[in-house]
Each structure stands twice: as structure tokens, then as C-alpha cells.
């Protein structure tokens, strides 16, 4: 199998999931580096150059709020989920469950065999 093709498809698949993961993780306030670490610990590694623009975009869309604050004698930018973001996260998680259920159904159908499902459709 073409590794580059797989990487591209994997990237596409993960793109939407990363947004949901970031919104979910920011129910607790964090700054960029700790957020990246927290996601990596859960098995969701995000490219450094992708996370920060994503945070800015989500903030511009009103889904996150941020503030500069001093911690350990250094200024850091902390992000957290906004009220709008919480509403959107709820809807996205419902959508995620719906996609998961659909995919599970499709995979079960496939295991039963294509000829049977064709006959069932008549």
C-alpha cells in the first residue's frame, strides 16, 4: 500500500477529530504546551505548527477564550472553552456518536456479506 496515500487519508480523518479533542480538553484551562502534552498522553499527537493556529481560529470563532497570565514567573497564554464552545462541543460529540454508530452498522453489514444484503434490498 502507498504509505503517502495512507498518511494523507489519515490526516483527513484526524482533522475533524482534533478539533473535537481540543475543545474537549479545554474544558479545563490550559496553555498551548500543556494542552499538546495532555493530548499526546491520550495518544493524539498534534503537529506543533498545527495546534497554535487551530487555537487562534477557534478563539476567533468564539469557541475558546484566552488570557495572558503569569505562571512560574513567566507570561503564558491560557485557553479555555467558552459558553458557545461548550454548546458546539455537545453537538459535535452527538455527531461523533452518530458517525460511530453508522460506521459500526456498515461494518456489521459487510461482515454478513454483500450478496445477502443485495437480496435483502429487493
Amino acid at each position: 500500500m502507498d504509505a503517502a496515500l495512507f498518511d494523507n487519508l489519515r490526516l483527513e480523518l484526524r482533522r475533524g477529530a482534533v478539533v473535537v479533542a481540543v475543545l474537549a480538553a479545554l474544558r479545563n484551562e490550559q496553555y498551548g504546551y500543556t494542552l499538546r502534552k495532555a493530548l499526546a498522553e491520550q495518544g493524539l499527537t498534534i503537529d506543533d505548527g498545527t495546534l497554535y493556529p487551530l487555537l487562534r481560529r477557534l478563539e476567533t470563532q468564539g469557541l475558546l477564550v484566552s488570557e495572558w497570565r503569569e505562571e512560574a514567573k513567566r507570561n503564558k497564554r491560557f485557553y479555555r472553552l467558552s459558553a458557545d464552545g461548550a454548546g458546539i462541543l455537545k453537538q459535535l460529540l452527538a455527531e461523533w456518536k452518530s458517525i460511530d454508530a453508522s460506521l459500526t452498522g456498515i461494518l456489521k453489514e459487510r461482515r454478513r456479506g454483500p450478496s445477502r444484503s443485495l437480496l435483502a434490498g429487493r
Partner: protein, 332 residues
Amino acid sequence: MDLLDRYLQAVKFWLPRKQKQDLLAELSEDIRSEIEDKEAELGRRLGQAELETILTRWGHPMLVAERYLPQRSLIGPVLLPAYTLVLRIVTLVYLVPWLLVFLGFVIFDPGRRTADAIGDGLQAFWLIALHAVVVITGVFAVLERHQFSNRSWEAWSAGKLLKREAAPDPNGIPRSQSIAELVTGLIFVWWWLQLLGSPTSHHLADTFRITVWPLYPAPYLGILVFLLAGVVMACVNLYRPWWTRHRARARLVIDALGLVICLAILAGPFVDITAANPKAGAVELAKWANLSWYITAGIIALGCLGRIIQDVRRMSGKTPIRNRAMAFLGAV
């Protein structure tokens, strides 16, 4: 200046101006946090190679900064097929014939076979091709910027396909037609403006002498007005894609002007192409050049006449004629 500072400076250069300091402060802080974390894990300061590994993973400074910029494209995927179609049409209808005429001169005229003459010809061709691409790209970039495509695409409904098949709207103006008229009109305006400053008599390598109408510059300005009016009409039609009586009246005036110009050309002599050097078979070529010039003027005159008929019908509330002859003349 250490490696991290150099890296941050390089990223800063490409960051959007308004957010430069804010973005840089955040990036700097998070990279420093990562470095400190790693140093705490190892129990010592990071070496140059380890720092390089971290920064290399962050990526090329230009790529890091580029991700903060809004996603932009000069010509988006919606207009791209139309853009490539217009480029192909201009190549086939204008650039390829230009090249063939140039090759004809090189073959038939010994004076054009020198390295200098061929070099000049190819240079002129390159400039013409470049200008055509720049003008077409510019027009499509303006359309993209004003999001013309999005509005018209959103206004579309599948029912329109059936309506079109059942009975085409006689007062509708296809936007593709307006775009094509606008782009070709702009190219011809540009070309005509280049000619405005030229002398009225040209000698081509002592083989041909081309003399334009002695009433210069009146005919040039008349044609320029005709072309500019066509461009304005195409712009209006693009944003208001249906005929009104006022617009039919305006086009009637434009086409009447075009018809008068074409008839004046046919009455001649608007352009006189004569052979200055009878030895090179130029007399025969001059005859063909003259004939092709008159045929072109005749076809344009017929097109203007066809459109005048349609304009008069629209103004009097009648349905315009729809047949192959009118379509061939560009008068549907």
C-alpha cells in the same frame, strides 16, 4: 543570539503584521516550556543537537508562520475550470494563429530568417502570451475576490435545469457568455491601445507595406469606443444577467457603431496591404492578407447586424430569434 532566538526571528519575519508580537510571544513561551521540560527530564541543559531536533520538529519558519495566515487562493476551485477554459480558448484562437502567421513570415520572407528577426518575433510572442495570461488571471482574480461565483452558485436550484430544457429564458444572459465577452473584450482593448501609438504606415522587412486609413486617429478611437462599450455591457450583464429594454437600446447603439465601422472598413481603404518587394511572392500574400481582413470585417458586420435584429425585437417586446445562424453570429 542563540539558535532559538534565530528561529523565532525567522518565524517573526513571515507572521501577519498585526498579530506579530502576540503570536511570537506565545510561540516563544511554549517552545521554552518544552525545552525546560526536556531539561528537567534529562537533569541537564540541552545540547545544540537536541535543540536542533526540537526546532526541526516545529518546522520551517515560513511554514509555521503561514499556518496563521487566512486560507487564500487567487482563483478558487469553483472558477478554476472556467479560467483554464478561457486560457485554452485564447491559446487556440489567438496565440497559435499568431505563431502560425509568424512562421509564415519566416518561411516566405528571406529577410525574416535572420537570428535577430526570429529572436525579435519570439520575444514579441512571449510578451503577448504573458500579457494575455496576466489580463485573464487578473479578471478571474477580481471575480474570485468579489465572490461572484459563490453568490451565483448559491442562487442555483436543480429546477433551473428543467426550466432551461423546457423553454430557455429569452431574456436571460448566460454568465459564462458575459465572462467570455468581458475577458476577450479586455484583451482586445489592451491590444488596440498598443496600436494607438503606432505610426499609420508599416514596412515589414521590405516585403509588405501596411497603410491604415488616412483619417487616423478617428477610426482607431471609434473602434476603441466600440470595444470599451462592449466591456462595460459585459460587466453590467454579469451582475444583472437579464435583458431590459434600456440595455437592449444601449446594445443597439453599440452594434450600430460596430456596423458603421465594419462597413467603412469594407468600403475601404481602411488598411492597404501592398507588396513592397514583388520578388518574394509577396504580391500573392498581400492579396490573401487583404482578403482575410475583409472577410473578418464582413463576419463582424454580420454579427452586428444579427444582434441589431435581436435588439430591435427585444425592444419591441418580441422574442429574439433562436437558430444556428444567429448562434454562429454570436447574436443569440
